[in-house]
């Protein structure tokens, strides 16, 4: 569904990750576009889920979209730090969430047909989002980012190593 392996223009990359939890399997492909200055957009996300018997496919789709964006949001922006025994981030100015304009532009969900016992769909899409995103950034830029969050509450771009330090 994501056309894995397709040729992409410079600065674009696909990343993949998969995960099992709550009896459900979720595989996620993220496409990123990273400009030379580190500005990131997410043109597309593709999620395949095997959650066993599915009663309400529209709910599953909504959870896949929401749980994935929750994971992308945390990976890009969501630092939580503690100081003097209290969490520093106390409201949205310091605890940044993904907004409409930053969300993926296209999102496809495929539900694997199964009559196995029903699994969860709320949390399973979240764990593979960050590694799929990080792998896509590596595919697009050649850089492995190893410090979360990649952008942070105040940033606007990925902190890519400069040529000299790379």
């Amino acid at each position: 569904m994501a056309k894995w392996g397709r040729k992409l223009p410079k600065g674009r990359g696909l990343g993949i990750a998969a995960h099992r939890s709550f009896l459900s399997y979720v595989a996620t492909v993220v496409e990123v576009a990273v400009s030379a200055d580190g500005t990131l957009t997410i043109p597309g996300v593709w999620v395949a889920v095997d959650a066993g018997t599915v009663i309400n496919p529209r709910h599953v789709r909504a959870q896949m979209e929401g749980g994935t964006i929750y994971g992308l949001s945390n990976a890009l922006y969501g630092a939580i730090t503690a100081k003097d025994g209290a969490v520093v981030q106390d409201n949205f100015p310091s605890w940044r969430l993904m907004r409409m304009g930053e969300a993926p532009r296209a999102f496809e969900v495929e539900i694997v047909a199964s009559d196995a016992p029903p699994g969860g769909v709320g949390e399973p899409p979240t764990p593979p989002a960050a590694p799929a995103l990080a792998n896509a950034i590596f595919a697009a830029t050649g850089h492995r980012l190893r410090t979360l969050p990649f952008i942070g509450a105040d940033g606007s771009k990925l902190a890519l190593p400069t040529k000299q330090s790379a």
Binding site: E65, G66, T68, I69, F92, M98, R99, M100, G101, E102
Partner: protein
């Protein structure tokens, strides 16, 4: 000091401390609890209402600055754009937990009133002030486009 406010087409008398944000006047004085509190800092859009047709963050708008204004909340929003948004929201099953959705609907309705055929960039601009922790953004975009197509 008691002042008169026009809310959802009706004149209401409110006696609240000077500077009390409109959000608390709506919720605590007038019992209009459809408008939600998310941040109190104009960051999340949960408290969005229309003031003279403009989407406005009620949490940072002093009620006593609105003496001559037309205030419309989620309980009172009506008209072709609101109807189209309501139908598309139901058809696309947009809400998840629902907490942000009154604000999303007020922003989306104001968008369609001013721009009946918004493109993706216009949707981004009009809707980026409304956070959704359940991340229903994909559904919101689909529903706005569907609503626009029916207008």
């Amino acid at each position: 000091m008691a002042i008169s406010l026009k809310v959802n087409g009706k004149s209401r008398t409110v006696d609240a401390a000077p500077g009390t944000p409109l959000l608390w006047v709506l919720r605590d004085h007038l019992g209009l609890t459809g408008t939600k509190f998310g941040c109190g800092a104009a960051q999340c859009g949960a408290c969005t209402v229309h003031v003279n047709g403009e989407p406005t963050r009620a949490c940072v708008t002093p009620h006593d600055s609105l003496a001559d204004a037309e205030i419309v909340t989620i309980e009172g929003v009506s008209g072709a754009a609101a109807e189209a948004i309501r139908n598309a929201w139901i058809a696309k099953d947009v809400p998840q937990c629902g907490y942000c959705q009154a604000g999303q609907i007020m922003s989306a309705t104001a968008l369609l009133k001013s721009n009946p055929a918004p493109d993706d960039a216009a949707i981004d601009e009009a809707m980026s002030g409304n956070l959704c922790r359940c991340a229903t953004y994909m559904s919101i975009r689909r529903a706005i486009k569907e609503a626009a197509a029916t207008l």
